[in-house]
């Protein structure tokens, strides 16, 4: 079948992009993180944005699939498996984005040798490892020829809170930091969980639609419609949190927070903020709030894609805005961190910066695109192994009831 050809082409293309990223990473390792756009003022960039983004996608996927068993929503059981595959792949990607962000990855073993339990980053390492293990166990149990419902129930009871926790801890990496005005908020964890649900659900919908289109794994239109309804609810919760946060920053009228808001509303991260509000919240919500639109595959797909773009933008403005402004203002500011040898040797005009700036470089983009492609590669392989193979075997065995009963 021609499917086989396009399947191989797809795998080849994603693998190629992943290899390019590997090359770019080796280049980054040999030359230092100076090849990225990060600097002493904006010391985190695209990698950490994508780290947060993928932790969110992962948590969202698992929350939906484990709630099938926890809250006993039988309809969701049909999509539990693709949900857990997505979640596993996403958390692997999140971990990889930390590896490429770290300046001395060869020393990562220090995380095991000298864990410092005061650090939210350490908490995250622990929670992500536990979470990955739970994902793998969950996946293993689900893909048994005859899944043990009892065991699945037990694991899902651990999976659900861990999924909430993994994203809360990621939020606390930022929320507990007093140095950055825009991060230091108790609402950070709820905001992160809300956008995790939103983006995770959106990604799940997109994956289901793609599986529907290109494979034999079919999901009922009704189920997609109810997922879309859930998505609309999540978008509303997300919007509510963002509004509360912005209002709390705005109302007291303190100079430092007003400055952050002005960067967000009309400054250098404004395009990210408004893209999130319009693409991530207003448009998809207006589409999905109407039941009739939720029945149209095309509109649901468009909304899901918009939501994912929106949540990505949200991660980016959340991270970057608070870096841009120095807490103690004054010229010349801070040393940028790079020596620029080809500038006039007597004067180094770009060595000092009084305000942060950041733009990802080609190296960062190649690594980011490559890692995301690697994720798509993994998802494709896993989906084929775990969704389709079993589908075929179960059909051969004449047990297509279990999977087809949802149709």
């Amino acid at each position: 079948m021609s499917n086989q050809g396009s399947y191989k082409l797809w795998l080849g293309a994603t693998a190629l992009l992943a290899l390019l990223a590997l090359g770019a990473w080796i280049y980054q390792l040999t030359n230092g993180l100076g090849v990225t756009g990060m600097n002493n003022v904006v010391s985190w960039g695209l990698y950490i944005t994508l780290f947060m983004f993928f932790v969110g996608l992962s948590a969202g996927g698992l929350i939906v699939s484990s709630s099938a068993t926890i809250f006993n929503i039988p309809a969701f059981k049909a999509i539990a498996k693709p949900g857990v595959i997505l979640s596993t792949v996403s958390i692997i990607l999140a971990a990889l984005f930390i590896v490429v962000d770290v300046g001395s990855p060869a020393r990562l073993y220090n995380l095991l040798l000298h864990p410092q339990l005061n650090s939210p980053l350490m908490w995250d390492v622990i929670v992500i490892l536990i979470y990955l293990v739970i994902n793998i166990i969950y996946l293993y149990l689900m893909t048994r020829p005859v899944p043990d419902e009892k065991k699945l129930k037990i694991v899902s009871r651990f999976a659900f809170p861990t999924a909430i926790l993994v994203h809360s801890v990621t939020a606390w990496i930022f929320g507990l930091i007093i140095a950055r005005e825009g991060w230091h908020s108790a609402l950070m964890a709820p905001i992160f969980v809300a956008s995790a649900l939103t983006s995770g659900l959106a990604l799940l919908i997109i994956s289901l639609l793609l599986l529907n289109r290109y494979t034999q794994f079919k999901t009922d239109q009704k189920l997609i419609t109810s997922c879309a309804g859930l998505l609309a609810t999540c978008i509303a919760i997300d919007a509510f949190f963002v509004f509360s946060e912005v209002l709390t920053l705005f109302y007291p009228g303190r100079e430092s927070t007003l400055h952050i808001l002005s960067i967000m509303f009309s400054g250098s991260t404004a395009f990210l903020f408004w893209l999130e509000i319009i693409l991530g919240i207003v448009l998809p919500f207006t589409i999905l709030v109407f039941y009739r639109n939720r029945e149209k595959t095309g509109l649901v797909a468009v909304s899901a894609i918009l939501v994912i773009i929106g949540v990505f933008c949200k991660r980016a403005w959340l991270l970057l805005t608070s870096f841009l402004q120095l807490n103690i203002s004054g010229s010349p500011g801070v040393m940028f961190g790079r020596h620029l040898p080809y500038v006039d040797s007597a004067v180094f005009p770009n060595s000092w910066v009084a305000q942060g700036s950041y733009l990802p470089t080609i190296v960062e983009i190649v690594i980011a695109v490559g890692l995301v492609s690697f994720g798509m590669f993994l998802f494709t392989v896993f989906a084929r192994k775990m969704l389709l193979k079993q589908l075929i075997t179960s059909k051969v065995a004449g047990q297509d009831q279990s999977l087809a009963s949802e149709h």
Partner: protein
């Protein structure tokens, strides 16, 4: 046990940047990086003043690591590479740092520098104190309050070279020390006091 600290008299600071250069020399700090800096407070230009003519005001503030008692960077470091040492200094273990830069995000004073690239030095050799360890690419570094000098009982180089004698170094735990006296008598203040980091660097305005 001691709690080493510093008092900087802003009325004395003339913004000459001698401390900046001395620090760079002593600690072998490469191009594009500086552990200490002198900013013109609130101004957008170097040596700029703030206010409306003729009521102008110009304050230079030398800023480096504040060696906070409640140091956010120490809490943030996932591997304990940043810690408070027995003399109350915040120090970085260059052999343990994994380069995650969480401490940089956690520092309210932007006092930390990352080795983004292979160090370039002008002149092209390792200068400064031989006892100061070299730092490799991919780790964080910052002011150590001249650990290598203060361990020998010397003052940090920025204190020693200041031509205006704006900087005073000493033990904050000793009520009879010059720093303790200045803080007491001159109402010395800490930077970004509201963040609750309890810096061990004090400023007299």
């Amino acid at each position: 046990m001691a709690r080493l600290g510093m008092v900087i008299d802003l009325k004395r600071c003339i913004g000459c940047n001698t401390c900046v250069i001395a620090c760079k020399m002593q600690n072998n700090v490469p191009m594009g990086m500086s552990w200490t800096r002198v900013i013109s407070e609130g101004s957008e230009e170097l040596d700029g003043a703030v206010g409306e003519y003729p009521f102008l005001n110009k304050t230079y503030i030398p800023i480096a690591c504040q060696h906070c008692e409640n140091a956010p960077c120490v809490k943030a470091c996932p591997v304990g590479a940043t810690s408070k040492d027995d003399k109350g200094r915040v120090v970085v273990d260059y052999d343990r740092c994994i380069g995650c830069r969480y401490c940089m995000a956690a520092c309210p004073y932007n006092a930390r520098m990352f080795n983004w690239q292979k160090a370039t030095r002008v002149p092209d050799f390792n200068y400064g104190d031989q006892a100061v360890p070299l730092r490799k690419v991919g780790i964080v570094e910052k002011c150590t309050m001249c650990k290598e000098r203060t361990d020998l009982g010397l003052e940090p180089l920025c204190v020693e070279v200041c031509p205006a004698k704006a900087r005073t170094f000493g033990d904050l735990d000793d009520p009879n020390s010059e720093v303790s006296r200045l803080i007491r008598e001159q109402n010395a203040e800490q930077l970004l006091k509201e963040k609750g980091t309890r810096p061990q660097i004090y400023y007299i305005r």
